[in-house]
């Protein structure tokens, strides 16, 4: 499933999420639910900047996997999966566990080829070459 479809499904599933984006942590690409290229780019850029600041604040060995920044205006939640991350903006006091779960599902769905439910599908079998007898018939 492509990133945009995964994000659209995320905002449809979770009523708490106002806007969400998927982005490469060290890259420049990203997708978001916001309309307009400029708005989307600004949203992705600011989410990436927050994640970089959080990663640089870390002193231990274990990598950062999630963060929640709670402000008086609302909350920002970010989930990291390898080299990509998903960020969501919610109102005040969201159900944090639920939003994290939805963001993880979104990341999984965006990376998984399939029907959009995040479940991997078996690859289609290649047809064996028709035997000479079949082709003759």
């Amino acid at each position: 499933m492509d990133a945009l479809r995964a994000l659209t499904e995320l905002t449809e599933i979770s009523s708490q999420i106002e806007a969400a984006c998927l982005f490469e942590i060290d890259g420049s690409g990203g997708s978001s639910t916001l309309p307009g290229d400029e708005r989307s780019k600004l949203f992705v850029r600011s989410a990436r900047a927050l994640l970089h600041a959080a990663r640089s604040a870390h002193t231990g060995e274990a990598p950062l996997v999630q963060l929640e920044a709670a402000t008086l205006q609302g909350s920002v939640l970010i989930v990291v999966d390898g080299d990509v991350a998903a960020a969501a903006v919610t109102g005040e006091s969201p159900t944090v566990g639920l939003v994290f779960y939805d963001l993880k599902s979104c990341l999984r769905a965006a990376r998984t080829p399939g029907d959009g439910d995040g479940r991997p599908r078996p690859k289609a079998r290649k047809r064996e070459a028709a035997s000479p007898s079949e082709s003759a018939a």
Binding site: E18, A19, L34, R39, L42, F43, R45, S46, A47, A49, L50, A53, A54, S56, A57, H58, G60, E61, A62, P63, L64, V65, Q66, L67, E68, A69, A70, T71, L72, Q73, G74, S75, V76, A87, V89, E92, S93
Partner: protein, 68 residues
């Protein structure tokens, strides 16, 4: 009779003030700006406003960008 009425008024006033304080505390005082960082080994670090290393202003930027 008058003393009883005064006492009633006083108790009513105390009740109203107590209810107002409770509502105020629940509405505003419980909210704290903070950043919670979750690491792969299961540790969670919670940083309050002032210790967050400018992450809260960045989070406000993200919210503003999302709502603009």
């Amino acid at each position: 009779m008058r003393a009883l009425r005064r006492l009633f008024r006083f108790l009513l006033l105390v009740g109203v003030v107590a209810a107002g304080l409770l509502v105020y505390r629940r509405r505003f005082a419980g909210k704290r700006e903070r950043v919670d960082l979750y690491y792969d080994d299961g540790t969670v670090v919670s940083l309050e406003s002032g210790q967050d290393g400018a992450m809260l202003p960045l989070a406000t930027d993200v919210i503003r960008a999302a709502r603009s």
